[in-house]
């Protein structure tokens, strides 16, 4: 399967502040990749580089084999882009904006757009600026669906949306992507949404990539164990197998890629007395916080 997006050795700084170094991202055709990270981890920076709005200090990103700094109009026509906050031309109404974009895309199909618009309680001449965030999200999504791009880049699509609109957005998007073999690169800070949408996950922390794999594999391999230590002066955070540890007094949440047997054996071999040892079932949000830490 071909890579639609390929970022090789991407390094970027804001002034002297390192955002990331030698970042490599590959997104396969037909897959949905979710880029997760805390605020300031570099999600929007990556989106901006992918769209050619930011020149990385070094390295390169390719989309359909073209450097994103010099995308041809043909390749840009294959990419649907959702800006953080569902930004659109707010001075237009839903008819005007559809008319405007239809002139740029040869495969323009306004049916999915008007299907979505019919669900909104907006008047035909209502300006986008007077719509709610949820309504604007549907306008932005409808325009992308009408464009019928091969690759969708979505920057924090869940921002400002209530749960109903988020669910509508995700269900519509996933069904569309899977039925039409579309590729999606998306970020969101609402991790529970991502679990419903994505195939592959890329988790970034400040300056580094913590995980990049299929989300099922990540959820299977990454584990949480809770236990209570007999003594509170034991520090497990430096151990190689520990991805992250959260400790409140003697109560420990330990996150690792190792098995339950491995952890228990390690604790026994090192004479660490514990009580109430149990493996905790996690959802993607728990796993994300477990991997990146609460702070």
């Amino acid at each position: 399967m071909n890579n639609v997006i390929e970022c090789n050795n991407l390094t970027h700084y804001y002034g002297t502040k390192l955002v990331y170094e030698n970042l490599n991202i590959h997104v396969k055709e037909g897959s949905i990749l979710g880029l997760l990270g805390k605020n300031g981890a570099g999600k929007t920076t990556t989106i901006n580089i992918l769209n050619g709005f930011l020149q990385p200090r070094s390295g390169e990103c390719l989309i359909y084999g073209e450097n994103t700094q010099k995308l041809t109009p043909h390749t840009k026509g294959r990419i649907g882009f959702l800006i953080e906050g569902h930004i659109q031309y707010a001075f237009m109404d839903i008819h005007q904006i559809e008319k405007f974009y239809s002139g740029f895309y040869p495969n323009w199909n306004n049916k999915p757009y008007w299907d979505l618009m019919s669900k909104l309680k907006v008047t035909p001449s209502q300006k986008i600026s007077t719509m709610s965030c949820g309504q604007r999200s549907q306008v932005a999504l409808g325009l992308i669906l009408a464009q019928d791009p091969d690759l969708l880049i979505l920057d924090d699509f869940s921002m400002g949306l209530d749960p109903g609109y988020r669910r509508l957005f995700i269900d519509y998007l996933r069904a569309y992507a899977k039925s039409e073999n579309k590729t999606i690169f998306t970020t969101s800070h609402i991790i529970s949404d991502m679990e419903r949408l994505i195939d592959d996950v890329l988790i970034m922390d400040y300056n580094r990539v913590l995980a990049q794999c299929p989300v099922k594999e990540f959820m299977q391999d990454f584990k949480q164990f809770n236990f209570t230590l007999d003594k509170d002066n034991i520090d497990l955070s430096k151990e190689k197998f520990v991805s992250n540890i959260e400790k409140v007094k003697n109560d420990v949440e330990l996150y690792t890629y190792e098995s339950e047997d491995f952890v228990k054996k390690f604790l026994d071999d090192n004479g660490v007395e514990t009580k109430n040892f149990k493996k905790v079932k996690m959802n993607l949000e728990d796993a994300f916080i477990g991997l990146t830490g609460k702070y």
């Binding site: 709005f53 882009f81 031309y89 707010a90 740029f104």
Partner: protein, 222 residues
């Protein structure tokens, strides 16, 4: 694509453009009503004497109108592109970025020129109906740099508004404040006759300066 770009730009500036065109015509109408009043109550010879020997410009009220129209159209056209960095939407369109920008600039310039031409022609016709060739000709030479000032202001607004860094915006604003008065200096009718062509060339030179701001935006300057 051109049609779609023109449509977008038209939606942004249409009310201001129509309002400015009408306002300009009203100012010109007011100017000639005043002239008519002076002729009626003071006599034609007095009006003629004031213009020829006292260098009174009966059209002085028009001086800053093109400038204000240029500033207004620039703001109406480019400011909505920078709110929430909406210019990203334009850069993402399947068209070369500079081509998209030049279409925007071309439409704005054409709209401005059409408005100015309307005002210029109406002014010319009314002036010709009241005054002889020499007075009308000197008036047209005098008001030409005022219209060029409006065009220059429009180009400077595009440069300043699209610039991503505030420090640069301030610097460009100072440059504009120093530059635009060059078009509006003299109080003598016809004084700009020797340099009107040079001013046109100068205006053309700054016309595409906004491409530089847009390039800096695309490279992620902040």
């Amino acid at each position: 694509m051109l049609k779609s770009m023109i449509y977008k730009e038209w939606l942004k500036i249409r009310w201001f453009l129509i309002g400015a065109a009408v306002a300009g015509l009203l100012v010109i109408a007011y100017m000639y009503m005043n002239t008519q009043r002076s002729i009626t109550f003071g006599g034609a010879s007095s009006v003629w004497y004031n213009i020829m020997f006292l260098n009174r410009m009966f059209y002085k009220i028009l001086k800053y109108i093109p400038l204000l129209i240029g500033l207004g159209i620039g703001v109406a056209q480019y400011f909505p592109e920078t709110v929430n960095k909406r210019i990203k939407l334009t850069f993402h369109l399947p068209i070369l970025e500079n081509k998209a920008l030049l279409m925007m600039l071309g439409f704005g310039t054409a709209s401005l020129l059409a408005t100015y031409l309307l005002h210029f022609v109406v002014f010319w016709l009314l002036s010709s109906s009241y005054f002889g060739y020499e007075i009308t000709n000197a008036a047209l030479i005098t008001i030409t740099p005022w219209f060029l000032a409006g065009l220059a202001a429009y180009f400077f607004v595009a440069l300043i508004v699209l610039e991503p860094i505030w420090m640069y915006r301030i610097f460009y604003s100072f440059a504009a404040i120093a530059f635009v008065p060059l078009y509006l200096n003299s109080g003598m009718a016809g004084a700009y006759a020797p340099i009107n062509i040079q001013l046109v060339l100068l205006t053309l030179l700054i016309s595409v300066s906004m491409l530089f701001s847009a390039y800096r935006f695309r490279k992620g300057e902040m």
